[in-house]
Subunit: 331 residues, 2 copies
Protein backbone atom coordinates (compact mmCIF):
# COMPACT_ATOMS: atom_id res chain seq x y z
CA UNK A 1 0.00 0.00 0.00
CA UNK A 2 1.23 3.50 -0.72
CA UNK A 3 2.33 5.43 2.32
CA UNK A 4 1.80 9.16 2.89
CA UNK A 5 2.26 11.14 6.08
CA UNK A 6 -0.36 13.68 7.18
CA UNK A 7 2.29 16.36 6.82
CA UNK A 8 2.98 15.31 3.24
CA UNK A 9 -0.76 15.30 2.44
CA UNK A 10 -1.04 18.83 3.74
CA UNK A 11 1.90 20.00 1.68
CA UNK A 12 0.42 18.48 -1.45
CA UNK A 13 -2.95 20.15 -0.82
CA UNK A 14 -1.48 23.62 -0.43
CA UNK A 15 1.22 23.78 -3.07
CA UNK A 16 0.53 25.20 -6.48
CA UNK A 17 3.44 23.69 -8.40
CA UNK A 18 2.56 20.19 -9.53
CA UNK A 19 4.49 17.14 -8.33
CA UNK A 20 6.53 14.76 -10.49
CA UNK A 21 5.82 11.08 -10.95
CA UNK A 22 9.17 9.46 -10.15
CA UNK A 23 10.12 5.87 -10.97
CA UNK A 24 13.11 3.77 -9.87
CA UNK A 25 13.65 0.46 -11.66
CA UNK A 26 16.15 -2.12 -10.47
CA UNK A 27 16.65 -5.78 -11.23
CA UNK A 28 14.68 -6.89 -8.17
CA UNK A 29 12.52 -3.93 -7.10
CA UNK A 30 10.33 -1.30 -8.70
CA UNK A 31 9.57 1.92 -6.85
CA UNK A 32 7.26 4.77 -7.79
CA UNK A 33 6.45 7.98 -5.97
CA UNK A 34 5.18 11.50 -6.22
CA UNK A 35 7.85 14.08 -5.50
CA UNK A 36 7.03 17.70 -4.69
CA UNK A 37 8.91 20.56 -6.35
CA UNK A 38 11.14 20.93 -3.27
CA UNK A 39 12.30 17.30 -3.54
CA UNK A 40 10.14 15.87 -0.77
CA UNK A 41 8.72 12.43 -1.51
CA UNK A 42 4.98 12.85 -0.90
CA UNK A 43 3.96 9.27 -1.43
CA UNK A 44 5.76 6.13 -2.60
CA UNK A 45 5.22 2.43 -3.09
CA UNK A 46 7.24 -0.59 -4.14
CA UNK A 47 6.79 -3.87 -5.99
CA UNK A 48 8.90 -6.77 -7.16
CA UNK A 49 10.27 -6.27 -10.66
CA UNK A 50 9.64 -9.86 -11.75
CA UNK A 51 7.47 -12.58 -10.24
CA UNK A 52 9.39 -15.35 -11.97
CA UNK A 53 11.40 -16.31 -15.03
CA UNK A 54 8.25 -16.53 -17.17
CA UNK A 55 7.48 -12.82 -16.73
CA UNK A 56 7.68 -11.24 -20.16
CA UNK A 57 8.46 -7.61 -20.92
CA UNK A 58 4.82 -6.58 -21.10
CA UNK A 59 4.00 -8.21 -17.76
CA UNK A 60 6.76 -6.19 -16.10
CA UNK A 61 5.49 -3.04 -17.77
CA UNK A 62 1.93 -3.71 -16.59
CA UNK A 63 3.18 -4.18 -13.03
CA UNK A 64 5.11 -0.90 -13.21
CA UNK A 65 2.15 0.96 -14.69
CA UNK A 66 -0.19 -0.40 -11.97
CA UNK A 67 2.31 0.75 -9.33
CA UNK A 68 2.36 4.27 -10.80
CA UNK A 69 -1.44 4.36 -10.89
CA UNK A 70 -1.58 3.28 -7.23
CA UNK A 71 0.56 6.17 -6.04
CA UNK A 72 -1.45 8.62 -8.15
CA UNK A 73 -4.75 7.22 -6.83
CA UNK A 74 -3.48 7.43 -3.25
CA UNK A 75 -3.36 11.23 -3.45
CA UNK A 76 -6.43 11.91 -5.60
CA UNK A 77 -4.69 11.86 -8.99
CA UNK A 78 -3.17 15.34 -9.01
CA UNK A 79 -1.87 16.90 -12.20
CA UNK A 80 1.82 16.07 -12.65
CA UNK A 81 4.44 18.22 -14.36
CA UNK A 82 6.42 15.29 -15.71
CA UNK A 83 7.71 11.76 -15.30
CA UNK A 84 11.31 11.15 -14.18
CA UNK A 85 12.84 7.68 -14.27
CA UNK A 86 16.03 6.03 -13.06
CA UNK A 87 16.46 2.59 -14.62
CA UNK A 88 19.21 -0.03 -14.50
CA UNK A 89 21.45 0.19 -17.55
CA UNK A 90 22.46 -0.09 -20.19
CA UNK A 91 20.01 1.88 -22.27
CA UNK A 92 19.79 3.90 -25.43
CA UNK A 93 19.79 7.46 -24.15
CA UNK A 94 17.96 9.81 -24.31
CA UNK A 95 15.50 7.59 -26.23
CA UNK A 96 14.92 5.61 -23.02
CA UNK A 97 14.97 2.18 -24.65
CA UNK A 98 16.30 0.04 -21.81
CA UNK A 99 18.16 -3.29 -21.56
CA UNK A 100 18.86 -3.79 -17.83
CA UNK A 101 21.57 -6.40 -17.27
CA UNK A 102 19.56 -8.02 -14.47
CA UNK A 103 16.24 -7.93 -16.33
CA UNK A 104 16.57 -10.10 -19.45
CA UNK A 105 12.87 -9.73 -20.32
CA UNK A 106 13.56 -6.10 -21.23
CA UNK A 107 15.89 -5.82 -24.17
CA UNK A 108 15.70 -2.47 -25.93
CA UNK A 109 12.34 -2.15 -24.20
CA UNK A 110 10.64 1.17 -25.16
CA UNK A 111 10.15 2.30 -21.56
CA UNK A 112 10.05 6.01 -22.29
CA UNK A 113 7.59 5.53 -25.15
CA UNK A 114 5.26 3.46 -22.94
CA UNK A 115 5.35 6.15 -20.27
CA UNK A 116 4.65 8.87 -22.85
CA UNK A 117 1.57 6.94 -23.94
CA UNK A 118 0.44 6.34 -20.35
CA UNK A 119 1.05 9.94 -19.20
CA UNK A 120 0.63 12.13 -22.28
CA UNK A 121 1.32 15.84 -22.42
CA UNK A 122 4.21 16.04 -19.96
CA UNK A 123 7.95 15.48 -20.38
CA UNK A 124 9.21 11.93 -19.70
CA UNK A 125 12.92 11.63 -18.94
CA UNK A 126 14.73 8.32 -18.43
CA UNK A 127 18.32 8.01 -17.20
CA UNK A 128 20.56 5.47 -15.46
CA UNK A 129 19.51 4.49 -11.91
CA UNK A 130 22.95 5.12 -10.41
CA UNK A 131 22.99 8.52 -12.11
CA UNK A 132 19.62 9.27 -10.48
CA UNK A 133 21.02 8.46 -7.03
CA UNK A 134 24.05 10.68 -7.64
CA UNK A 135 21.84 13.52 -8.88
CA UNK A 136 19.78 13.19 -5.69
CA UNK A 137 22.91 13.47 -3.55
CA UNK A 138 23.95 16.56 -5.51
CA UNK A 139 20.50 18.17 -5.37
CA UNK A 140 19.41 17.38 -1.83
CA UNK A 141 22.09 15.21 -0.19
CA UNK A 142 25.77 15.10 0.75
CA UNK A 143 26.80 17.05 -2.35
CA UNK A 144 24.23 19.84 -2.18
CA UNK A 145 25.67 23.02 -3.63
CA UNK A 146 28.82 21.30 -4.95
CA UNK A 147 29.61 22.04 -8.60
CA UNK A 148 32.23 19.35 -9.24
CA UNK A 149 31.46 15.97 -7.72
CA UNK A 150 31.76 12.25 -8.39
CA UNK A 151 29.03 10.07 -6.91
CA UNK A 152 29.43 6.31 -6.50
CA UNK A 153 26.97 3.55 -5.65
CA UNK A 154 28.82 0.48 -4.32
CA UNK A 155 26.35 -2.36 -4.27
CA UNK A 156 25.80 -5.49 -6.41
CA UNK A 157 27.66 -3.49 -9.03
CA UNK A 158 29.60 -0.25 -8.80
CA UNK A 159 27.82 2.61 -10.55
CA UNK A 160 28.17 6.34 -10.49
CA UNK A 161 27.61 9.73 -11.97
CA UNK A 162 29.55 12.92 -12.62
CA UNK A 163 28.59 16.51 -11.86
CA UNK A 164 31.01 18.99 -13.44
CA UNK A 165 30.64 22.74 -13.81
CA UNK A 166 27.39 22.48 -11.85
CA UNK A 167 25.74 20.18 -14.36
CA UNK A 168 25.18 16.45 -14.78
CA UNK A 169 27.63 15.09 -17.36
CA UNK A 170 26.03 12.73 -19.87
CA UNK A 171 28.87 12.06 -22.29
CA UNK A 172 28.61 11.09 -25.94
CA UNK A 173 25.93 8.42 -25.39
CA UNK A 174 24.50 9.16 -21.94
CA UNK A 175 26.90 6.70 -20.29
CA UNK A 176 29.22 9.03 -18.39
CA UNK A 177 29.79 8.05 -14.76
CA UNK A 178 30.69 4.37 -15.20
CA UNK A 179 33.35 4.63 -12.51
CA UNK A 180 32.88 0.91 -11.83
CA UNK A 181 34.47 0.13 -15.16
CA UNK A 182 37.55 2.25 -14.75
CA UNK A 183 40.62 0.02 -14.56
CA UNK A 184 41.78 -0.40 -10.95
CA UNK A 185 44.28 -3.17 -11.66
CA UNK A 186 45.29 -3.92 -15.26
CA UNK A 187 46.58 -7.31 -14.09
CA UNK A 188 43.47 -7.96 -12.01
CA UNK A 189 40.50 -10.34 -12.27
CA UNK A 190 38.18 -10.47 -15.28
CA UNK A 191 35.08 -8.27 -15.09
CA UNK A 192 31.53 -9.12 -16.10
CA UNK A 193 31.79 -6.39 -18.76
CA UNK A 194 34.49 -8.37 -20.57
CA UNK A 195 37.30 -6.12 -19.37
CA UNK A 196 40.04 -6.80 -16.83
CA UNK A 197 40.56 -5.46 -13.32
CA UNK A 198 37.66 -3.00 -13.35
CA UNK A 199 36.84 -1.34 -10.02
CA UNK A 200 33.57 -3.28 -10.05
CA UNK A 201 35.31 -6.61 -10.61
CA UNK A 202 37.10 -6.14 -7.28
CA UNK A 203 34.83 -3.96 -5.14
CA UNK A 204 31.28 -5.06 -5.93
CA UNK A 205 29.47 -6.66 -2.99
CA UNK A 206 29.21 -10.26 -4.24
CA UNK A 207 32.91 -10.26 -5.12
CA UNK A 208 33.92 -9.37 -1.55
CA UNK A 209 32.33 -12.49 -0.07
CA UNK A 210 33.34 -14.64 -3.06
CA UNK A 211 36.96 -13.57 -2.74
CA UNK A 212 36.92 -14.20 1.02
CA UNK A 213 35.41 -17.66 0.54
CA UNK A 214 38.09 -18.49 -2.03
CA UNK A 215 40.65 -17.60 0.66
CA UNK A 216 38.98 -20.02 3.10
CA UNK A 217 36.52 -17.72 4.92
CA UNK A 218 33.46 -19.70 6.18
CA UNK A 219 34.39 -22.46 3.76
CA UNK A 220 32.50 -24.92 5.94
CA UNK A 221 29.21 -23.05 5.37
CA UNK A 222 27.41 -24.15 2.24
CA UNK A 223 25.01 -21.25 1.67
CA UNK A 224 26.42 -18.03 0.29
CA UNK A 225 27.40 -15.61 3.05
CA UNK A 226 26.81 -11.92 2.47
CA UNK A 227 28.63 -8.63 2.86
CA UNK A 228 26.82 -8.19 6.18
CA UNK A 229 28.26 -11.41 7.61
CA UNK A 230 31.65 -10.56 6.16
CA UNK A 231 31.50 -7.22 7.99
CA UNK A 232 30.53 -8.91 11.26
CA UNK A 233 33.49 -11.26 10.99
CA UNK A 234 35.83 -8.41 10.06
CA UNK A 235 34.73 -6.48 13.14
CA UNK A 236 35.45 -9.61 15.19
CA UNK A 237 38.99 -9.59 13.81
CA UNK A 238 38.79 -12.25 11.07
CA UNK A 239 41.88 -11.62 8.96
CA UNK A 240 40.46 -12.81 5.66
CA UNK A 241 37.32 -10.72 6.14
CA UNK A 242 39.43 -7.66 6.95
CA UNK A 243 41.58 -8.30 3.89
CA UNK A 244 38.46 -8.49 1.70
CA UNK A 245 37.50 -4.93 2.69
CA UNK A 246 41.12 -3.81 2.36
CA UNK A 247 41.15 -5.09 -1.21
CA UNK A 248 37.85 -3.41 -2.08
CA UNK A 249 38.99 -0.15 -0.49
CA UNK A 250 42.18 -0.32 -2.53
CA UNK A 251 40.30 -0.74 -5.83
CA UNK A 252 37.92 2.09 -4.95
CA UNK A 253 40.82 4.30 -3.83
CA UNK A 254 42.65 3.76 -7.13
CA UNK A 255 39.51 4.48 -9.16
CA UNK A 256 38.79 7.62 -7.17
CA UNK A 257 42.39 8.83 -7.49
CA UNK A 258 42.17 8.48 -11.27
CA UNK A 259 38.80 10.23 -11.31
CA UNK A 260 40.14 13.20 -9.38
CA UNK A 261 43.16 13.50 -11.70
CA UNK A 262 40.98 13.46 -14.81
CA UNK A 263 37.99 15.51 -13.65
CA UNK A 264 39.24 17.60 -10.70
CA UNK A 265 36.21 16.69 -8.62
CA UNK A 266 36.43 18.34 -5.22
CA UNK A 267 34.00 15.93 -3.57
CA UNK A 268 33.37 12.20 -3.88
CA UNK A 269 30.09 10.94 -2.40
CA UNK A 270 30.00 7.18 -1.81
CA UNK A 271 26.76 5.31 -1.15
CA UNK A 272 25.18 1.92 -1.84
CA UNK A 273 24.72 -1.18 0.29
CA UNK A 274 28.39 -2.09 0.61
CA UNK A 275 29.23 1.42 1.82
CA UNK A 276 26.98 0.89 4.84
CA UNK A 277 29.71 -1.20 6.48
CA UNK A 278 31.31 2.19 7.23
CA UNK A 279 34.92 2.46 8.36
CA UNK A 280 35.67 -1.13 7.36
CA UNK A 281 35.50 0.13 3.77
CA UNK A 282 36.18 3.85 4.10
CA UNK A 283 39.39 3.54 6.13
CA UNK A 284 41.31 1.49 3.52
CA UNK A 285 39.65 3.48 0.71
CA UNK A 286 40.90 6.77 2.14
CA UNK A 287 44.37 5.38 2.94
CA UNK A 288 44.95 3.99 -0.55
CA UNK A 289 43.45 7.07 -2.21
CA UNK A 290 46.02 9.25 -0.44
CA UNK A 291 48.84 6.98 -1.66
CA UNK A 292 47.87 7.58 -5.28
CA UNK A 293 46.47 11.15 -5.19
CA UNK A 294 49.53 13.26 -4.43
CA UNK A 295 49.25 16.47 -6.44
CA UNK A 296 47.98 19.50 -4.56
CA UNK A 297 44.57 19.68 -6.16
CA UNK A 298 44.02 15.94 -5.77
CA UNK A 299 44.96 16.08 -2.10
CA UNK A 300 42.24 18.67 -1.52
CA UNK A 301 39.43 16.37 -2.71
CA UNK A 302 37.25 14.92 0.06
CA UNK A 303 35.42 11.60 0.28
CA UNK A 304 32.10 11.60 2.19
CA UNK A 305 29.24 9.16 2.68
CA UNK A 306 25.91 9.50 0.96
CA UNK A 307 23.21 10.91 3.23
CA UNK A 308 19.92 10.08 1.51
CA UNK A 309 17.85 6.98 2.25
CA UNK A 310 16.33 4.37 -0.04
CA UNK A 311 14.20 7.09 -1.68
CA UNK A 312 17.31 8.66 -3.25
CA UNK A 313 16.53 7.04 -6.59
CA UNK A 314 13.06 8.61 -6.66
CA UNK A 315 14.36 12.03 -5.59
CA UNK A 316 17.01 11.96 -8.31
CA UNK A 317 14.56 10.78 -10.95
CA UNK A 318 12.30 13.71 -10.09
CA UNK A 319 15.24 16.11 -10.44
CA UNK A 320 15.51 15.26 -14.15
CA UNK A 321 12.22 17.22 -14.35
CA UNK A 322 12.36 19.57 -11.35
CA UNK A 323 15.94 20.74 -11.86
CA UNK A 324 16.33 20.02 -15.55
CA UNK A 325 18.55 23.06 -16.07
CA UNK A 326 21.27 21.24 -14.17
CA UNK A 327 20.40 17.59 -14.60
CA UNK A 328 18.91 17.17 -18.06
CA UNK A 329 20.70 18.19 -21.24
CA UNK A 330 19.00 16.12 -23.91
CA UNK A 331 15.87 18.07 -24.85
CA UNK B 1 61.92 38.12 -36.20
CA UNK B 2 58.15 37.89 -36.41
CA UNK B 3 56.87 36.23 -39.52
CA UNK B 4 53.72 37.23 -41.41
CA UNK B 5 52.60 36.15 -44.85
CA UNK B 6 51.29 38.72 -47.35
CA UNK B 7 47.99 36.85 -47.29
CA UNK B 8 47.79 37.17 -43.48
CA UNK B 9 48.63 40.89 -43.69
CA UNK B 10 45.79 41.38 -46.16
CA UNK B 11 43.35 39.52 -43.92
CA UNK B 12 44.34 41.64 -40.94
CA UNK B 13 43.92 44.87 -42.90
CA UNK B 14 40.42 44.06 -44.09
CA UNK B 15 38.79 42.39 -41.06
CA UNK B 16 36.76 44.43 -38.64
CA UNK B 17 36.83 42.05 -35.66
CA UNK B 18 40.02 42.59 -33.70
CA UNK B 19 42.62 39.85 -33.27
CA UNK B 20 43.68 38.26 -29.98
CA UNK B 21 47.16 38.40 -28.50
CA UNK B 22 47.94 34.75 -27.80
CA UNK B 23 50.78 33.50 -25.60
CA UNK B 24 52.18 29.98 -25.11
CA UNK B 25 54.62 29.50 -22.23
CA UNK B 26 56.62 26.31 -21.77
CA UNK B 27 59.68 25.46 -19.71
CA UNK B 28 62.05 26.03 -22.62
CA UNK B 29 60.18 28.20 -25.16
CA UNK B 30 57.94 31.25 -25.18
CA UNK B 31 55.65 31.91 -28.13
CA UNK B 32 53.42 34.87 -28.86
CA UNK B 33 51.16 35.58 -31.79
CA UNK B 34 48.20 37.48 -33.09
CA UNK B 35 45.27 35.23 -33.92
CA UNK B 36 42.38 36.39 -36.08
CA UNK B 37 38.78 35.73 -35.05
CA UNK B 38 38.63 32.71 -37.37
CA UNK B 39 41.56 31.05 -35.59
CA UNK B 40 44.22 31.86 -38.19
CA UNK B 41 47.59 32.80 -36.75
CA UNK B 42 48.40 36.14 -38.43
CA UNK B 43 51.87 36.58 -36.99
CA UNK B 44 53.95 34.75 -34.41
CA UNK B 45 57.39 34.76 -32.86
CA UNK B 46 59.34 32.68 -30.35
CA UNK B 47 62.01 33.15 -27.71
CA UNK B 48 63.81 31.08 -25.12
CA UNK B 49 62.03 31.08 -21.76
CA UNK B 50 65.24 31.38 -19.75
CA UNK B 51 68.74 32.42 -20.75
CA UNK B 52 70.34 30.75 -17.75
CA UNK B 53 69.86 29.71 -14.14
CA UNK B 54 70.36 33.32 -12.97
CA UNK B 55 67.25 34.53 -14.81
CA UNK B 56 64.84 35.79 -12.21
CA UNK B 57 61.06 35.98 -12.51
CA UNK B 58 61.07 39.59 -13.68
CA UNK B 59 63.68 38.93 -16.35
CA UNK B 60 61.51 36.17 -17.79
CA UNK B 61 58.51 38.46 -17.69
CA UNK B 62 60.42 41.24 -19.48
CA UNK B 63 61.44 38.79 -22.21
CA UNK B 64 57.84 37.66 -22.63
CA UNK B 65 56.55 41.24 -22.70
CA UNK B 66 59.15 42.23 -25.32
CA UNK B 67 58.10 39.24 -27.42
CA UNK B 68 54.44 40.33 -27.26
CA UNK B 69 55.40 43.88 -28.22
CA UNK B 70 57.41 42.59 -31.20
CA UNK B 71 54.45 40.71 -32.67
CA UNK B 72 52.19 43.73 -32.14
CA UNK B 73 54.73 46.08 -33.71
CA UNK B 74 55.13 43.75 -36.68
CA UNK B 75 51.55 44.39 -37.75
CA UNK B 76 51.21 48.06 -36.84
CA UNK B 77 49.88 47.61 -33.31
CA UNK B 78 46.24 46.83 -34.07
CA UNK B 79 43.58 46.99 -31.36
CA UNK B 80 43.21 43.59 -29.71
CA UNK B 81 40.06 42.15 -28.19
CA UNK B 82 41.85 40.22 -25.45
CA UNK B 83 44.87 38.24 -24.31
CA UNK B 84 44.73 34.43 -24.17
CA UNK B 85 47.49 32.42 -22.51
CA UNK B 86 48.44 28.77 -22.21
CA UNK B 87 51.09 28.28 -19.52
CA UNK B 88 52.79 25.22 -18.02
CA UNK B 89 51.16 24.21 -14.75
CA UNK B 90 50.44 24.12 -11.99
CA UNK B 91 48.76 27.46 -11.44
CA UNK B 92 46.11 29.09 -9.32
CA UNK B 93 43.18 29.29 -11.68
CA UNK B 94 41.44 31.48 -12.78
CA UNK B 95 43.69 33.99 -10.96
CA UNK B 96 46.50 33.08 -13.34
CA UNK B 97 49.25 32.97 -10.71
CA UNK B 98 51.61 30.41 -12.21
CA UNK B 99 54.25 28.00 -10.82
CA UNK B 100 55.48 26.01 -13.83
CA UNK B 101 57.30 22.85 -12.74
CA UNK B 102 60.09 23.47 -15.27
CA UNK B 103 60.43 27.18 -14.50
CA UNK B 104 61.52 27.53 -10.85
CA UNK B 105 61.97 31.32 -11.16
CA UNK B 106 58.20 31.63 -11.40
CA UNK B 107 56.51 30.52 -8.21
CA UNK B 108 53.01 31.89 -7.80
CA UNK B 109 54.08 34.48 -10.37
CA UNK B 110 51.24 36.97 -11.07
CA UNK B 111 51.28 36.40 -14.83
CA UNK B 112 47.69 37.41 -15.45
CA UNK B 113 48.07 40.57 -13.35
CA UNK B 114 51.19 41.61 -15.27
CA UNK B 115 49.39 41.11 -18.57
CA UNK B 116 46.39 43.10 -17.34
CA UNK B 117 48.74 45.98 -16.52
CA UNK B 118 50.55 45.71 -19.85
CA UNK B 119 47.37 45.40 -21.94
CA UNK B 120 44.64 47.22 -20.01
CA UNK B 121 40.99 47.31 -20.94
CA UNK B 122 40.66 43.83 -22.45
CA UNK B 123 40.04 40.40 -20.89
CA UNK B 124 43.14 38.38 -19.99
CA UNK B 125 42.60 34.63 -19.59
CA UNK B 126 45.28 32.18 -18.48
CA UNK B 127 44.90 28.41 -18.53
CA UNK B 128 47.08 25.28 -18.66
CA UNK B 129 49.20 24.88 -21.80
CA UNK B 130 48.06 21.30 -22.46
CA UNK B 131 44.47 22.46 -22.06
CA UNK B 132 45.14 25.15 -24.67
CA UNK B 133 46.41 22.55 -27.14
CA UNK B 134 43.35 20.36 -26.54
CA UNK B 135 41.02 23.34 -26.96
CA UNK B 136 42.73 24.11 -30.27
CA UNK B 137 42.16 20.54 -31.49
CA UNK B 138 38.50 20.80 -30.48
CA UNK B 139 38.03 24.24 -32.04
CA UNK B 140 40.00 23.90 -35.28
CA UNK B 141 41.66 20.48 -35.32
CA UNK B 142 40.98 16.75 -35.17
CA UNK B 143 38.09 17.19 -32.75
CA UNK B 144 36.28 20.04 -34.51
CA UNK B 145 32.55 19.79 -33.88
CA UNK B 146 32.92 16.99 -31.30
CA UNK B 147 31.06 17.64 -28.03
CA UNK B 148 32.65 14.93 -25.86
CA UNK B 149 36.37 14.51 -26.31
CA UNK B 150 39.55 13.77 -24.38
CA UNK B 151 42.72 15.40 -25.68
CA UNK B 152 46.18 14.20 -24.68
CA UNK B 153 49.64 15.66 -25.16
CA UNK B 154 52.29 12.93 -24.84
CA UNK B 155 55.61 14.68 -24.58
CA UNK B 156 58.09 15.34 -21.75
CA UNK B 157 55.04 14.86 -19.55
CA UNK B 158 51.57 13.59 -20.34
CA UNK B 159 48.97 16.36 -20.20
CA UNK B 160 45.46 16.71 -21.42
CA UNK B 161 42.09 18.35 -21.39
CA UNK B 162 38.44 17.36 -21.35
CA UNK B 163 35.60 18.65 -23.50
CA UNK B 164 32.20 17.40 -22.27
CA UNK B 165 28.76 18.57 -23.29
CA UNK B 166 30.41 20.85 -25.83
CA UNK B 167 32.35 22.80 -23.22
CA UNK B 168 35.83 22.78 -21.73
CA UNK B 169 35.72 21.13 -18.31
CA UNK B 170 37.69 23.02 -15.66
CA UNK B 171 36.90 21.09 -12.49
CA UNK B 172 36.89 22.39 -8.94
CA UNK B 173 40.24 24.18 -9.23
CA UNK B 174 40.87 24.49 -12.98
CA UNK B 175 42.91 21.26 -13.02
CA UNK B 176 40.60 18.90 -14.91
CA UNK B 177 42.29 16.97 -17.70
CA UNK B 178 45.32 15.61 -15.83
CA UNK B 179 45.04 12.28 -17.67
CA UNK B 180 48.78 11.79 -17.15
CA UNK B 181 48.18 11.30 -13.44
CA UNK B 182 45.47 8.71 -13.71
CA UNK B 183 46.72 5.40 -12.33
CA UNK B 184 47.73 3.04 -15.14
CA UNK B 185 49.39 0.45 -12.90
CA UNK B 186 48.84 0.60 -9.13
CA UNK B 187 51.91 -1.62 -8.72
CA UNK B 188 53.94 0.42 -11.19
CA UNK B 189 56.90 2.81 -10.94
CA UNK B 190 56.88 5.96 -8.78
CA UNK B 191 55.78 9.15 -10.51
CA UNK B 192 57.29 12.61 -10.23
CA UNK B 193 54.02 13.77 -8.67
CA UNK B 194 54.58 11.52 -5.66
CA UNK B 195 52.05 8.95 -6.78
CA UNK B 196 52.55 5.43 -8.13
CA UNK B 197 52.09 4.02 -11.60
CA UNK B 198 50.65 7.16 -13.18
CA UNK B 199 50.22 7.11 -16.97
CA UNK B 200 52.92 9.78 -17.14
CA UNK B 201 55.35 7.74 -15.04
CA UNK B 202 55.30 5.05 -17.75
CA UNK B 203 54.48 6.85 -21.01
CA UNK B 204 56.29 10.17 -20.87
CA UNK B 205 59.03 10.56 -23.45
CA UNK B 206 62.10 10.57 -21.19
CA UNK B 207 60.84 7.44 -19.41
CA UNK B 208 60.67 5.46 -22.68
CA UNK B 209 64.37 5.87 -23.38
CA UNK B 210 65.28 5.54 -19.69
CA UNK B 211 63.37 2.27 -19.39
CA UNK B 212 64.94 0.93 -22.58
CA UNK B 213 68.43 1.84 -21.38
CA UNK B 214 67.77 0.09 -18.08
CA UNK B 215 66.94 -3.02 -20.14
CA UNK B 216 70.28 -2.75 -21.98
CA UNK B 217 69.33 -0.66 -25.04
CA UNK B 218 72.32 1.37 -26.33
CA UNK B 219 73.97 0.84 -22.96
CA UNK B 220 77.36 1.39 -24.60
CA UNK B 221 76.43 4.97 -25.57
CA UNK B 222 77.11 7.50 -22.87
CA UNK B 223 74.98 10.44 -23.97
CA UNK B 224 71.25 10.19 -23.43
CA UNK B 225 69.45 8.81 -26.46
CA UNK B 226 66.05 10.22 -27.33
CA UNK B 227 62.61 9.00 -28.32
CA UNK B 228 63.58 9.64 -31.94
CA UNK B 229 66.52 7.24 -31.76
CA UNK B 230 64.40 4.74 -29.86
CA UNK B 231 61.85 4.87 -32.67
CA UNK B 232 64.54 4.36 -35.31
CA UNK B 233 65.80 1.28 -33.50
CA UNK B 234 62.27 -0.04 -32.99
CA UNK B 235 61.61 0.30 -36.73
CA UNK B 236 64.83 -1.63 -37.35
CA UNK B 237 63.46 -4.43 -35.16
CA UNK B 238 65.25 -3.82 -31.85
CA UNK B 239 63.23 -5.86 -29.34
CA UNK B 240 63.87 -3.64 -26.32
CA UNK B 241 62.95 -0.52 -28.28
CA UNK B 242 59.76 -2.19 -29.50
CA UNK B 243 58.94 -3.25 -25.95
CA UNK B 244 59.41 0.34 -24.72
CA UNK B 245 56.67 1.55 -27.07
CA UNK B 246 54.54 -1.48 -26.21
CA UNK B 247 54.76 -0.54 -22.54
CA UNK B 248 53.92 3.13 -23.17
CA UNK B 249 51.00 2.13 -25.41
CA UNK B 250 49.74 -0.16 -22.67
CA UNK B 251 49.78 2.61 -20.04
CA UNK B 252 48.08 5.04 -22.42
CA UNK B 253 45.52 2.39 -23.40
CA UNK B 254 44.65 1.72 -19.76
CA UNK B 255 44.32 5.43 -18.99
CA UNK B 256 42.16 6.01 -22.05
CA UNK B 257 39.93 3.02 -21.22
CA UNK B 258 39.33 4.44 -17.74
CA UNK B 259 38.67 7.88 -19.19
CA UNK B 260 36.05 6.54 -21.58
CA UNK B 261 34.32 4.60 -18.79
CA UNK B 262 34.15 7.65 -16.55
CA UNK B 263 33.41 10.39 -19.08
CA UNK B 264 31.91 8.63 -22.11
CA UNK B 265 34.15 10.56 -24.47
CA UNK B 266 33.46 9.51 -28.05
CA UNK B 267 36.79 10.77 -29.36
CA UNK B 268 40.32 10.76 -28.00
CA UNK B 269 42.80 13.06 -29.77
CA UNK B 270 46.45 12.25 -29.06
CA UNK B 271 49.25 14.67 -29.87
CA UNK B 272 52.64 15.72 -28.52
CA UNK B 273 56.19 14.86 -29.51
CA UNK B 274 56.07 11.18 -28.54
CA UNK B 275 52.90 10.65 -30.59
CA UNK B 276 54.83 11.62 -33.72
CA UNK B 277 56.41 8.17 -33.80
CA UNK B 278 53.04 7.06 -35.21
CA UNK B 279 52.08 3.39 -35.37
CA UNK B 280 54.91 2.37 -33.05
CA UNK B 281 52.86 3.97 -30.28
CA UNK B 282 49.31 3.91 -31.65
CA UNK B 283 49.24 0.21 -32.53
CA UNK B 284 49.89 -1.06 -28.98
CA UNK B 285 47.80 1.79 -27.55
CA UNK B 286 44.79 0.76 -29.62
CA UNK B 287 45.30 -2.96 -28.98
CA UNK B 288 45.50 -2.58 -25.19
CA UNK B 289 42.65 -0.07 -25.13
CA UNK B 290 40.39 -2.62 -26.80
CA UNK B 291 41.34 -5.24 -24.18
CA UNK B 292 40.11 -3.02 -21.36
CA UNK B 293 37.25 -1.10 -23.01
CA UNK B 294 34.65 -3.79 -23.60
CA UNK B 295 31.24 -2.26 -22.95
CA UNK B 296 29.30 -1.15 -26.00
CA UNK B 297 29.67 2.57 -25.52
CA UNK B 298 33.38 2.24 -24.74
CA UNK B 299 33.95 0.16 -27.87
CA UNK B 300 32.49 2.97 -29.97
CA UNK B 301 35.07 5.53 -28.87
CA UNK B 302 37.75 6.34 -31.46
CA UNK B 303 41.38 7.36 -31.03
CA UNK B 304 42.82 9.76 -33.61
CA UNK B 305 46.00 11.79 -33.98
CA UNK B 306 46.17 15.52 -33.42
CA UNK B 307 46.23 17.49 -36.66
CA UNK B 308 47.46 20.97 -35.70
CA UNK B 309 51.07 22.07 -35.88
CA UNK B 310 53.31 23.79 -33.34
CA UNK B 311 50.98 26.80 -33.33
CA UNK B 312 48.24 24.74 -31.61
CA UNK B 313 49.06 26.30 -28.24
CA UNK B 314 48.58 29.82 -29.64
CA UNK B 315 45.34 28.89 -31.41
CA UNK B 316 43.93 27.33 -28.23
CA UNK B 317 45.03 30.29 -26.10
CA UNK B 318 43.18 32.60 -28.47
CA UNK B 319 40.04 30.44 -28.17
CA UNK B 320 39.78 31.30 -24.46
CA UNK B 321 38.83 34.76 -25.82
CA UNK B 322 37.41 34.06 -29.28
CA UNK B 323 35.20 31.12 -28.26
CA UNK B 324 34.80 31.87 -24.58
CA UNK B 325 31.22 30.55 -24.55
CA UNK B 326 32.66 27.06 -24.94
CA UNK B 327 36.17 27.34 -23.56
CA UNK B 328 36.06 29.81 -20.69
CA UNK B 329 33.78 29.41 -17.69
CA UNK B 330 35.46 31.52 -15.03
CA UNK B 331 34.30 35.09 -15.66
Amino acid sequence: MPFMTDEAAGRLATRSDAPVLAVDIGGTKLAAGLVAADGQVLVSDRALTTLGPDDDGDAIWERLHALCERVLDAVGRPAIQGVGVGCSGPMRWPEGAVSPVNLPAWRDFPLRQRLIEAYPGVPVRVHNDAVAVVVAENWRGAGEGVSNMLGMVVSTGVGGGLILGGRLIDGASGNAGHVGHMVADPNGPPCGCGGIGCVEAIARGPELAAWARAQGWRSEVTEAATTKELAEDARAGDKIALQAFERAGWALGVGIASSIALCDVGLIVVGGGVSQVGDLLFEPLERHLRTYARMGFTQNARVVRATLDQNAGLVGASAFILAGDRYWSAD
